[in-house]
Subunit: 227 residues, 2 copies
Amino acid sequence: MCSTNQLWKVNEVAHLLHIDSSIRGDGSVSRKLTARAAAVWRAAHPGGTVTYRDLGRDPLPHLDAAGGMARILPRDQHTAAEAESWALTELLISEVKEADTIVLGLPLYNFGAPSSVKAWVDHLIAPGLAIDLETHTGLLSGRDFVVLASRGGGYGAGTPREGWDHAEPWLPHGLAATGLEPRFIAAELTLAEVTPAMAELIPLAAKSLAAAEQEIDGLWSPASALA
Amino acid sequence: MCSTNQLWKVNEVAHLLHIDSSIRGDGSVSRKLTARAAAVWRAAHPGGTVTYRDLGRDPLPHLDAAGGMARILPRDQHTAAEAESWALTELLISEVKEADTIVLGLPLYNFGAPSSVKAWVDHLIAPGLAIDLETHTGLLSGRDFVVLASRGGGYGAGTPREGWDHAEPWLPHGLAATGLEPRFIAAELTLAEVTPAMAELIPLAAKSLAAAEQEIDGLWSPASALA
């Protein structure tokens, strides 16, 4: 027997939105992790389709004085720049709405999210499209949103820089109005391999990466997709 | 009698770097606050000079896959895109180095700093220019760095969204490597005036703004500049 939710999954074509944001290429840990997650998802969803967006290679424009108010102003008052910015917001939100699963790579740069990820979030906070105008509830809820975070150092409880990761605590707040609720899998100490002063942390880094990979490998399974 | 530090202030031409980042024009609270601070600074420093940068009207490019690694890679290995990105970093850091005082407007968008402010910080984290290659100490220290923060809501202790301001806690960490140490003056609840559901908070918003303005008015005085 299938629940309503499971019927939906069986009857619709599963769709993944895969987003990277690292400015690195082959050296990127977050890109490796999102690629691994996408492979696990594909194996679990034969026939599933994927949209790929690369915020690191093709960053979205910042919200700026020319077009940035588009999401607040009524559409019939939009200038040309605001109409262009709104059209991009419509595209980005349609990418999210078409997906039942989202995988986002989130490296930590200078203790914050990449500016390109902030710009993506800023585009999504759109009343009428991502937030119900009457009820103020989020219209993007109900998706599985997996964030694969990579951090050069370690910022957990008891570490010298505890609390210096400002990306993971921010993202759920930044997206709260839309109903998107990220769950995080993180690899820490990724700079240990290439930073002499962090050499003694290499085993911890390897452990963190292995744990993240193991968690990714268990994210979706063919059995659960067809259950 | 003058201390060494005071002699320096008298003998050199005082220089202010004034930065805005709001995407709003006349309606921007942070722009009003930075303008007020710049006026106070000019009154206290006759003959002082000012550099103005508007991240809201002319955002800096995001660090991206094409040029973003410029600050990590050796200059003689730079691609054309990396050389261009590095040249912008040189310009931005020279603006900071020329200033003895910096005023930055920092609105809160979707619970984080504007993406354009993140891009500015990302450009400043440049080993060799802003961070000493040998000692790893910051080369931009010793400046008075005043951040005028504006927040649509209230996120202090005891409020329902305590901890949802991710801009002010992040900025000192983001810039720590450079030696720049921001001090903050904030106006909260700036959306109370235009948000019906926040109407009862209008008096608190007015109080917060008045306190910020009073603090700005006392930042610098002609007497202290010439003492």
